[in-house]
């Protein structure tokens, strides 16, 4: 369904048929949408299944894709690189959500309802390289008043054993690492699965309180 058709349908649903560019957004409709999705978070958003990324796609272009999903939400997006800045690579989905990874660690997101504006994970990378240790993690968030707040977390990284993952039909041997981070207002655990070659092939990393954890897979 085209975008216009979609907004037309929404407008009909809201029994407030607005059209033309000057009336296309209204707080009433925004609130109606919000209320609808709060009361019926899954039914309200029926969706066509997207064609899935296959092993053949990945083999044809190694390293060109990542898979992203929100933990607890059964919906996966394929990411492609949109730019790089030093060791940081920004990946973007077709729906204009982007994540920036530094050696596989999440340092930024854009397009979520509460983005991770930036993260300093250099200590965490060090600890992972050393197969464990303690690190300080600093993160920036944008609050409801458009102000940036910086959170400093103390994290400890330790091995959680070995696991063989199956990703798009291929078995990959990994060592799992848990990163437990705490600050006064936040406490969470990120998980990384690192292959023998030293790359993070899968991870679950916190975006923010409002969004939760993102699972990122390097197929």
């Amino acid at each position: 369904m085209s975008k216009i058709m979609k907004s037309f349908a929404v407008a009909l649903l809201a029994t407030a048929a607005a059209c033309g560019t000057l009336n296309e957004e209204s707080p009433a409709r925004g609130i109606a949408d919000m209320v609808k999705s709060r009361f019926a978070p899954t039914e309200a958003i029926a969706q066509a299944p997207a064609p899935a990324l296959t092993r053949a796609d990945v083999d044809a272009a190694p390293g060109a894709y990542k898979l992203m999903s929100l933990v607890g939400i059964n919906d996966t997006a394929t990411l492609v690189p949109a730019g790089n800045n030093g060791t940081k690579v920004t990946w973007i989905s077709a729906d204009q959500v982007s994540v920036t990874l530094q050696n596989g660690l999440l340092v930024s997101t854009r397009g979520f309802v509460q983005d991770l504006m930036a993260a300093d994970v250099s200590g965490v990378i060090q600890a992972l390289v050393s197969s464990g240790g303690n690190a300080t993690r600093r993160v920036d968030y944008l609050d409801g008043l458009d102000q940036i707040s910086t959170e400093v977390l103390q994290c400890s990284i330790a091995s959680g054993g070995f696991e063989t993952l199956e990703i798009l039909g291929k078995a990959i041997a990994t060592e799992k690492f848990n990163e437990v981070c705490t600050s006064e207002s936040l406490r969470f655990t990120n998980v990384y699965w690192i292959s023998d070659a030293g790359g993070i092939v899968k991870s679950q990393q916190l975006v923010s309180k409002g969004v939760g954890f993102l699972q990122i897979v390097s197929p």
Partner: protein, 731 residues
Amino acid sequence: MVGLNKRALFASGVSTLAMLFTNSVVAQEGPSYTVFGTPGLLEMPTAESAEKSDIATTFAYSGSGGYRSSFTYQLTPKFSGSFRYAVFDLYPEDVTADTFETFDRSFDLQYRFNDESKYVPAVAIGLRDFLGTGRFGSEYIVASKSVGPNLIVTGGLGWGSMGTNNGFSNPLSAISSYFDDRPVYDDRTSTNAGDNGGKISVKQFFRGDAALFGGMEYQISKDLGVKFEYSSIAYDAETYAPAVDIESPFNFGVTYRPRPGFEVNAGYLYGSDFSLGVTMMLNPEKRPSLSGLDPAPAPVKVRTRDAIAASSWDRANEPALGAALSQLLAVEGVELDALEVTRTTARVRYTNDRYRSEAQGLGRVSRMLTQIMPASVETFVLEPMQQGMPLSATTVQRSDLERLENTVGASEALFERVSLNNAGPDGDMTEVPQSNSKWEWGIGPYVALVLFDASGPVKADYGLQFDGRYEVNKNLVISGKITQSALGEQDGATFYDNPNDYENVRTDGAFFGRDGTPNLENLTVAHYGRVAPDVYSRVTLGYLERMYGGVSAEVLWKPVSSRLAIGAEINAVSMRDQDMGFGFASYVTEANGDRTKSGTYETVTGHVSAYYDLGTGYQAQLDVGRYLAGDWGATFGLDREFQNGWKVGGYFTITDMPFDDFGEGSFDKGIRVTIPYDYFIGSPSRKDVSTTLRSLSRDGGARVEVDGRLYETVRQGHLADINDSWGRFWR
């Protein structure tokens, strides 16, 4: 490429949001609300405060207490103010005669001295209905103390209305005999019911008998509470006092909060009546959409050293570069107007049509520039425009963008590195042909409130509206709006009585657009310009608003980094025909209620205005000049402005029109609220919705309503506003 369904992400965000809300219930219980819409018991206050910046709207009804709709704003952690609009029965001058229905506006204030500690209760002082007609006029001191986690006990001492049940001699009389007796409020001694009120009843404060009140509230579960009070309001039968059928001073209630921000109150009041109320709470500081649902920006494209060395630039390529950049910026909802690119510097002028925050616009545009500008270009000069006026010039170093992208503290670090100046001259810029359609339109539903028509104090009008806008060029815009009510022909207002000889410049408002035909709400040609580096101009010609047409001209002096702005406006207007077509006419109301044309009403109004950003989120405005009825005076406004675009404020206007001529309320005053769309809808929008809660709109201190006054437009691109939302630069 496989796509992640955006709506699913939206939904997940929102459902997690709902989760967050649920989690915060325990922490955010806050006080429950009275039928007066203030934190407290049933009719009696407590020394509790809502959370800072909470805005609570309460609708309450009881058979003999009538309707009370209130708006309470917690201005600081300890200080709150309320505005109330109530409909209830009043005793006439002869209290034995039949009661009559009245519409009453009132204001309250409460200040809490201290936070509750282990042994010391919280103590607050307050004024209820101190500015209106004083029907509930009371002063009180109240103390509240929690006993265990679920019980709050309250006791207090009230004066005025709150000193009437089992009242005793005023303890303040120990200080002075001044406090012995409370003078009767003006209008209670007047021989007609139409006296004005609206003056601060300082003469009555804390005088006369006092009485004790008290009560307690017990929280049974997270969402359910019960409360009980002993009221000190006797509701004695007195001239122009509320006619409440009271049999007992004991009131009981239940509060239910099914979700945060929403409270239902039920009570048994006065030993005679059930009451029902609903309170909705919003907090400007807590945006439901958190940081917003804006799609991801393009990342910064980083140059290599080699690329910089190899780069060359020829200005002959400018039009092609402009066309390409124009397409990129269109993705961001930004329209490119002009550019000037030298080997090292790119200067661009653009109109941000999407982001409320001009800082976010700067961030989006500068990242797009990194995608396309020749590698040798190190400096970006960004000149946001609105209505064809370049507002400022922000200089950003491209290497700073490359260095700081996705780093912690990038926002602050970049702010220290950019500079903000006046927009440069048009001189060398290459204009970019516009791709956007010059013609925009929209059809949609509208809902409006009609105050005081024949059927009651408030009524909803609804129907269809048609909006059209044609951009002749960047600076010159024709726009208009037509509405068609679904209600058909309606009677005009009959409530107003006008004790004065002034033209009914606003009190005739409720006769406008009532004949069921399409209403031309406005139709104007507006020209905007920047006449000097710090001086902006506007001329608007046409049907300016529902009641007036003519010409309005304005100039504004506002340096980019100044807290102060000075403006002047002059309007030559004529009153429109009440059928809201193209004609101009004034009418009089005949004795039988018919309206007949009596000629025209033409007038010149004008103001000199000073705007001052007080810092810490407060904005003051003073307008001095001539108003619609030919009265001279001044309007003072003060607003609390939140960085995310919310505004909550108040204003009053005093003119040389005598209070007696003004009529009820004595002078114009009100509370105003502006809510940005993006607060609710999450996705970026430059629109907002504003409401003014005023005591009646009357003929004194009335102004022409002109769309697009300069200050609100110009300030968006200036230092204070850019600084406020700078956190969005990297969003």
